[in-house]
Symmetry: C2
Amino acid sequence: MKSLVVSCLLTLLVTTAAWGETTLKQAQALFKPVPTRPPVLAKNPATPAKLELGKMLFFDPRLSASNLISCSTCHNIGLGGVDLQETSTGHGWQKGPRNAPTVLNAVFNVAQFWDGRAKDLEAQAKGPVQASVEMNNKPERVVATLKSIPGYLPLFKKAFPGDQDPVTFDNVARAIEVFEATLITPDARFDKYLKGDQKALTATEREGLRLFMDKGCATCHNGVNIGGAGYFPFGVKENPAAEVRPAADLGRFTVTNTEVDKYVYKAPSLRNIVLTAPYFHSGKVWTLDEAVKIMGSAQLGISLSPGEDEKIVAFLNTLTGTQPHVTYPILPPNSATTPKPLLQ
Amino acid sequence: MKSLVVSCLLTLLVTTAAWGETTLKQAQALFKPVPTRPPVLAKNPATPAKLELGKMLFFDPRLSASNLISCSTCHNIGLGGVDLQETSTGHGWQKGPRNAPTVLNAVFNVAQFWDGRAKDLEAQAKGPVQASVEMNNKPERVVATLKSIPGYLPLFKKAFPGDQDPVTFDNVARAIEVFEATLITPDARFDKYLKGDQKALTATEREGLRLFMDKGCATCHNGVNIGGAGYFPFGVKENPAAEVRPAADLGRFTVTNTEVDKYVYKAPSLRNIVLTAPYFHSGKVWTLDEAVKIMGSAQLGISLSPGEDEKIVAFLNTLTGTQPHVTYPILPPNSATTPKPLLQ
């Protein structure tokens, strides 16, 4: 009798260990840890000079017409790379149409913006600068402003040593891309787990991971960014509430003009997801628990039990990595010829 | 004949040297270098925990009703501690009434705000948070917000270890004061000069200093902050243009309700003055050259010659110190109970 109990316990242990091993293997096949060093940008290689310039431009509100809004305004590195707003507030206190995606790990996304209309961070950086509801500026005015600031010229020269006239809108975007590519968050507990340390996650978190894979979440949310790799309809099985998926925002349809792309969005990265409420492109959902429930019904056609969604949320809590260490840049001063802020 | 020339030259050299020595002595009697370490705040001693908390709060836009405006918005450490606006833009894109004074070296001012209505940085920090045209928040809402952010409680406990209930509006202001007191800019070239290195200034800059003292500028602009130490009427000899000194802004009169305080303002610090255009409480003057000319006519009743104002501006260019080195803080995330941003 005693040997039977021992035998049963042993079997259970072995099974649990095997289950653990299987879960890890399956996770390793689906996800990748955030690398500890920024990726190399083939067409825009980083140099210390370009990186430093990019950081300055990222924080410089003089890229906006008002001189009040910088990239950092909506992509606050201290707040998970977002602005904690439903949709961003820009020039003249106007509300933008969508929730600001995080800049953290954005370099690993297949493309930028919710609808993927910018192929990379360089292209992305040019958008908000010109959007009338965001920074409301014009490329030529950005260049005139930067050229009027004497301290910027040597920095552009150093960052773009081959260029005759280095202060260009393209180079502004290139420098910002290089800086943004460094805004990665390695060493999340989940990444330690992916590297083989099963104890990096608690039992509940591992069960959450198991559910995340078994229920189908990982169909769209996989890879290094646990998302950010492809486009999917929002409402595969069931349309979300109109507040959460406003009828007027047709998503990727406006990029491709293709019927099947109506209400299609890039699956967002779930990296650091606990830092970046509110959720979805509408920003109408403030808790991760509610967001997970909506995903279950809208995308998978299932009702998650309270225990299940809690476990998935517990797993999502393991995706917060080491946040970027950034020294606040000192920006070169205006000159008498610097264009004045435009507030209207 | 030869000995006469030598004698003359020697006399000239000795006279020049003596003139230089006199100028230095006179300057040392009028001004003081910015210390290399922050001053001790008698009633609010700094600790590493209080300093770190203060830095976080300084950069946290959740002190504002909208969650969009932080202390750093108008007091950008990367831009000389100001916002480069005529008058600041706040909640709902409203224009504030006066130009944002720099936070750099503000700890050395006799009091805070243009009219001195806050006796220190602790009192000052409470103003913009509540001003409807600035951050438009209420103390109780600030406290409710901070209490709802789980990561803040241990930081307040560590910063204010004696307090039963450390998350208070007063402690928010105290922590911010401790951080702001570290935002000092030592080692300006003028400070090296004051410490005895006469070659730290060029001949033109020393002539500018001489004029600054001889013409009377140093009557109001003296001490460690070269200003910031007392209140003076704007328009001692001649009223400035109505655009520069708007009739409706009565200055310190609104604080003291005393007739002689009409159009009286705290003389601003001239530290880092080349970084902080536009000038005056109205922010209507964009170049230092014009500002110096206006000071000459309005305060001293003199017309500075083009050579003279250029020399004074050259001197003012030596007042830029080493700007603060600040690591951008990572802020603790919201919880489900954190009050939502109020944009209206």
